[in-house]
């Protein structure tokens, strides 16, 4: 992104809703709610949350002002992106070649990205969204069907459809990982892991006898 194309900060609302300020705003809301609740507790129970929460409110307010001020001051002259966003943009802009990256003060070659099929044809935003969906899906699968059923389903889905690996590799990796975990956790360490609401219901009501 060149400096000519940088967005201009014009209104307070824009500045407030800018990514960096949003986190400070989130902190402000969090501390305010926590302090508000703490005031309803008896003095002894609520004292420390208030003692810690009030400076939290003041500091997050200060940070919010700093973030908004920085955004206004920028007026398109400096890059409003975070270091993380600049880092990600640099990488995605260079997927077809080698990119010089500065890591801890040393210039190093980054060559691994071009070989990654999970990146091809997906923008940064799409990858971010998909990864969160898969993560939430994993937790949901484990909650509904338990660890031992949820895990292989997630692994197959992720490896085949997100990572775009072959069915053969997907099957081998999933089976190997599942078998290893089962041997180590269920057989050797005798760990009973969460069986899931749906699986638990089925086991309880259908296979009970």
């Amino acid at each position: 992104m060149s400096s000519d194309n940088l967005p201009r900060a014009t209104t307070h609302l824009q500045a407030l809703l800018h990514g960096r300020a949003l986190l400070s705003l989130g902190m402000l809301i969090f501390f305010s709610v926590m302090v508000g609740i703490a005031t309803t507790y008896p003095w002894l129970a609520g004292m420390l949350p208030v003692v810690i929460g009030v400076p939290g409110i003041l500091l997050s307010l200060l940070q919010l002002v700093i973030d908004m001020r920085d955004f206004h001051r920028a007026e398109g002259k400096i890059d409003p992106r975070t270091a993380f966003e600049i880092y990600m943009d640099e990488i995605t802009e260079h997927t077809k070649g080698q990119v010089k990256m500065e890591i801890s003060g040393e210039k190093k070659e980054l060559t691994t990205l071009v070989e990654d099929p999970s990146v091809v044809g997906r923008t940064r935003g799409q990858r971010e969204f998909l990864l969160w969906c898969y993560f939430f899906g994993l937790v949901l699968l484990v909650l509904l069907f338990g660890f031992w059923i949820g895990i292989p389903v997630f692994l197959v889905a992720f490896l085949r459809f997100y990572a775009r690996e072959s069915w053969k590799l997907t099957a081998i990796l999933t089976l190997a990982a599942w078998a290893l975990m089962y041997l180590l956790l269920a057989v050797l360490l005798e760990q009973v892991l969460f069986e899931g609401f749906i699986s638990g219901f089925i086991m309880e009501n259908i296979f009970r006898d």
Binding site: I37, M88, K108, D116, L159
Partner: protein
């Protein structure tokens, strides 16, 4: 204390095939369990207590202690390679260990952490032996008032682990402390911020919080970035035995730091109630604070790996002291160990010095030998594992996420922690995405509850007088000196235009 007794105990340990077998078995199991997030030393003892039923007193104790002593050595493996801490104690190692892996220096980081763990463990055991005659008056000097100020001292290190973003660092530290207040108030018994959610009454689970703030965001980041954990190619990266040896040698180059952090670890281990996570974070903060040019911390500074790892293992020797001689467990792991000792017929108390000093020395030697054994074994195991940092994220991420979910489920055996993981992970990612430092969060959540509990106890015991106890005054002086130093260094860095990035 006779040299004869010390040596005869060592001979008794290494010449008895049974004791040697129990120690080797304990070390091997400890290494496997330590590498699995969520289990850790504490749960490992609980899991294996049935195994020691009916076993010989010495063999059983050696088995459990060896296992517990080395879980930390293996716990750093996932911290460094994937940003997934084995348990709360290993979280501090992520801050510099994971960036080293990203720079293709996983071999060097693992070598350094192994050697640091080994030396820390040996120093911890040596300190245990040396402190036997003088420990009682030292421990008795520390009361809840001093614990409160020690916790505050640890919290002031937030200023050092926040890099250039001190405001943001303090905010994140306060955020962690606020979350530490969730659960039953230790004084009144009121369920704060937890209402009908019974699983929150015991407080927020540390492992779930650490996995959510560090591990999940790192994996999402890896997936968004594409490629492998290591940003440099396999050919350029340092994966050879030579790199591991270089990491080990680096530990000796920072020997003074190793000694200091080991002793801090021992000291914190001795004090019941402060816990292992406090030791590693306080030592990490100390490494940043005592370094002349800390600008590389958080970007893969080897001292950021060495400091928490030495403390992690040295604290085990320290925490065994009050456990064995006063029957007061130095940590939650030692509390379970205490129960196991009783099952084995070992009655902790001052009579351990007068009547069972030979057993004490065997346990000390077991700590030393198992730590050395763990380093040797891990040296061979870690090298092939380093290659995982060059595996494409698309293949690695699902497995690491599965380990994260497993660790969350295992931490307290409650499915509700998965919901916590879902809530906190986006917060961790937002911190990473918007350049907010994350280490202060763990410092806040670890030390917040300790500070509160100690404050209540100290207040109940002495009222306002707890501020003017001699040791309290010394610790308050240290706190003010630390804050003054942080301000001075911040000002100096601003003058020099130095930027620190930690977290």
């Amino acid at each position: 204390m006779s040299i004869e007794l010390m040596l005869s105990s060592l001979i008794q340990l290494i010449t008895s095939p049974y004791n040697l077998w129990m120690m080797t078995l304990g070390t091997a199991i400890g290494l496997v369990i330590g590498a699995l997030p969520g289990i850790g030393g504490r749960l490992a003892i609980a899991l294996l207590i049935p195994f020691i039923f009916g076993k010989d007193m010495v063999g059983g104790a050696v088995f459990l202690l060896s296992m517990h002593a080395v879980t930390g050595t293996a716990g750093q493996l996932t911290s460094i390679m994937f940003g997934v801490p084995g348990e709360g104690d290993a979280a501090a190692t992520i801050v510099d260990g994971y960036p080293m892996a990203q720079k293709g220096e996983a071999g060097m980081a693992l070598g350094a952490s192994l050697m640091a763990s080994g030396i820390g463990g040996v120093i911890g055991a040596a300190a245990l032996g040396l402190l036997i005659p003088v420990i009682e008056p030292i421990v008795l000097k520390f009361s809840p008032a001093e614990f409160f100020f020690l916790a505050l001292l640890g919290i002031t290190f937030v200023a050092f682990v926040s890099g250039s973003a001190i405001f943001k660092g303090i905010l994140v530290g306060l955020f962690g402390m606020m979350l530490a207040f969730i659960g039953q108030d230790p004084q009144t018994g009121i369920a704060r911020y937890s209402d009908d959610f019974l699983f929150l009454w015991e407080g927020m689970d540390l492992i779930t919080a650490v996995l959510a703030i560090f591990a999940v965001p790192e994996m999402i980041h890896l997936g968004v970035k594409g490629g492998a954990i290591s940003a440099v190619s396999k050919e350029e990266a340092q994966t050879s035995v030579k790199a591991q040896l270089a990491g080990m040698m680096a530990t000796f180059q920072h020997m003074w730091l190793v000694v200091r952090t080991s002793l801090i670890g021992v000291f914190i281990g001795i004090l019941p109630g402060l816990g292992g996570s406090a030791a590693s974070w306080i030592c990490y903060g100390h490494a940043v604070q005592s370094c002349k040019k800390p600008s590389n911390f958080g970007r893969g500074d080897i001292r950021g790996v060495i400091a928490p790892e030495t403390a992690n293992n040295s604290k085990e020797g320290g925490s065994l002291l009050p456990t064995l001689f006063f029957g007061v467990p130095g940590s939650s792991g030692m509390a379970i160990m205490l129960g196991a000792f009783l099952i084995l017929g070992i009655q902790p108390g001052p009579q351990m010095i007068t009547e069972k000093l030979d057993l004490v020395w065997i346990l000390i030697w077991a700590l030393v030998v198992s730590n050395i054994l763990a380093v040797i074994v891990m040296l061979f195991v870690t090298r092939p594992l380093v290659r995982l940092t060059f595996v494409r994220g698309g293949i690695l991420i699902p497995f690491v996420l599965v380990i994260v979910v497993f660790g969350t489920l295992m931490a307290k055996g409650q499915w509700e922690n998965l919901i916590l993981l879902l809530i906190l992970s986006p917060v961790g990612y937002a911190l990473l995405r918007f350049d907010w430092p994350r280490p202060p969060f763990v410092i806040g959540i670890v030390l917040g509850s300790i500070a509160e509990e100690s404050l209540h106890k100290a207040w109940a015991l002495w009222g306002w007088d707890f501020f003017v106890r001699p040791l309290s005054l010394v610790l308050m002086g240290l706190i003010f000196a630390t804050i003054a130093f942080a301000i001075y260094r911040g000002w100096k860095d601003k003058q020099e235009g130095t930027v620190h990035v930690v977290g």
